[in-house]
């Protein structure tokens, strides 16, 4: 699954650690999601969407 996490983070000037703290996960988790190594569960995808104040579809897209 593709995602826009890196771009969205850059716009807000958040580091991976900043985002990880907002989501309550490890920095490694954010990195794995961002690089496409790991697809988050639906509850975590909703948390990510809430943090960016966007919908899931605006952050993640099909391959």
């Amino acid at each position: 699954m593709k995602n826009r996490l890196r771009v969205l983070r850059a716009i807000r000037e958040w580091s991976q650690q900043d985002l990880a703290e907002k989501l309550g996960v490890s920095r490694q988790s954010v990195n794995a999601i961002e690089t496409g190594k790991y697809d988050p569960s639906l509850p975590l995808a909703f948390r990510i969407a809430d943090v960016f104040e966007l919908t899931i579809e605006e952050i993640f897209e099909r391959d």
Binding site: G24, S26, S29, P40, L44
Partner: protein
């Protein structure tokens, strides 16, 4: 480093330290007793099994870690590590037993039982995670 760990990871590390200390203490006590005052009958069996209790509890500690870890990605890495360790230890022991069946290696295991290979498998599993997922995990 301890501060950076998740609460579940900290609990696991503490449990592991306590269990391993208990294992060393029980193994030393059992070895000393068997050498100097060999127990008889049921007591001998009970004493021989005693060092296995903290080892079995390590499996419990790892399973609790999986249950208590709230970071789903770290939990996935841990499960992958455990599966890798289980497959590795079963494979090593299967090969070893067949070598024994055909008398190509001596009987016994020289102290390197399934737990030793499972622990080694956890290490290799972390390496496997690092190569394939970019991070080793926290176990």
């Amino acid at each position: 480093m301890f501060k950076k760990m998740s609460p579940a990871s900290r609990r696991y590390t503490l449990r592991l330290a306590v269990l391993m200390s208990l294992y060393v203490a029980l193994l030393s006590a059992a070895s000393w007793l068997f050498r100097n005052h060999p127990p008889q009958g049921v007591l001998a069996y009970a004493l021989a099994i005693l060092p296995a209790v903290p080892v079995i509890a390590v499996f419990w500690a790892v399973m609790r870690f999986i249950v208590e870890e709230t970071d789903e990605f770290m939990r996935l890495l841990l499960v992958r590590q455990c599966l890798f360790a289980s497959g590795f230890s079963i494979a090593v022991m299967t090969v070893w037993e067949f070598l024994q069946t055909f008398d190509l290696v001596p009987p016994g295991n020289g102290g390197f039982g399934v737990f030793f290979f499972w622990a080694m498998g956890l290490g290799l599993g972390a390496l496997f995670n690092k190569v394939t997922m970019g991070t080793a995990g926290s176990c």
